[in-house]
């Protein structure tokens, strides 16, 4: 079942049609406000495309030459290793796997244990999130971030990827 966020995104991008579109538009509490927000999102897209667009790569040929040299060095190093008669337990494959595993462990801690936010980055009068984490065993794909709605001074801790639960869990 699509979440509201997915339906909203699809509606904004004109990807909803037929019954799904009718049902979604009927479910909107304030259609006019939603249309205004849709128009705002389009303006945002136009702004981003106009202002960001493409960024030229200066010295393209130098880029390619530098890259070529790296690849040639890499290829030479690999063929030397293959020719070497010295046996070692630490093969390239093993080194790569060990490195990848270490990086994965590092990323798990880095991603899911946020640093203390510098209070100066957040408004003095808004609730501040010092750090937040989701349990990586329970929700391995979840992410967590912060959002401030300055109008009502609401601080939102926004999670994504938490496991969806059946409606029974809404019991009082």
């Amino acid at each position: 079942m699509r979440t509201f966020e997915e339906k909203w995104t699809a509606w904004l991008d004109g990807k909803l049609s037929g019954r799904e579109l009718t049902e979604f538009e009927a479910s909107l509490p304030d259609k006019a406000a939603a249309e205004a927000e849709k128009a705002d999102a389009k303006k945002l897209g136009t702004l981003l495309k106009r202002e960001i667009g493409t960024y030229d790569l200066a010295n393209e040929e130098f880029f390619s030459r530098q890259l070529r040299e790296k690849i040639v060095r890499e290829s030479t190093r690999r063929s030397r290793k293959r020719d070497s008669a010295v046996a070692t337990w630490w093969t390239v494959r093993r080194l790569l796997w060990t490195g990848t595993a270490s990086l994965a462990v590092f990323l798990v801690f880095a991603i899911f244990v946020m640093h203390d936010k510098n209070p100066a980055e957040q408004s003095q009068y808004l609730t501040q999130i010092l750090n937040a984490r989701v349990d990586s065993v329970v929700s391995p794909n979840a992410t967590i971030s912060m959002f401030e709605a300055k109008e009502d001074r609401v601080t939102v801790l926004w999670t994504e990827g938490l496991q969806s639960l059946p409606a029974d869990y809404a019991a009082k």
């Binding site: 079942m1 979440t3 509201f4 966020e5 909203w8 479910s27 509490p29 209070p119 003095q124 009068y125 808004l126 609730t127 501040q128 999130i129 010092l130 750090n131 937040a132 984490r133 989701v134 349990d135 329970v138 929700s139 967590i144 959002f147 709605a149 109008e151 009502d152 001074r153 609401v154 601080t155 939102v156 801790l157 926004w158 999670t159 938490l162 496991q163 969806s164 639960l165 059946p166 409606a167 029974d168 869990y169 809404a170 019991a171 009082k172």
Partner: protein
Amino acid sequence: MGRSLALVVASTALIMSASTKLQGAETVWSGLVIAENVPQPEPIPPELTRIERSLKKLFGYNQFQVIGQSRKTLNTGQEDWLATSKFFGLHVDARGESEAGYVLNLKLYKEKELLLETDTKLSKRSPLVIKGPQIGSGQLLLVLVVQ
């Protein structure tokens, strides 16, 4: 002499314990809220009226129902359960008070599983909303407001 000393010690202890309570006996209202879109939405609970506009705008739902709530005065250094429902519980460890607000460690449990944990400075002027998991066609939200 002994009685005077005991009186001084007892008074000091009382003063110290009183000073660790939140100033002005403020309470923290916390709610476990199910947000969803329905054809005939119920009126928004009074505790959420102040942030109704933000909730609707940020999350896109038209109905917000409280499935568990609590209103407690938090004492620094003490742990307690805030809002609970049949399957969820919000645990708090009040770690202190600062200029900006009250430093809290919050843990959301789904039965015995810890779903998420956060350390926050909860400001008197600024409610905290935590987006929980999707439940059926709705969304679990946790709301904390200093009253």
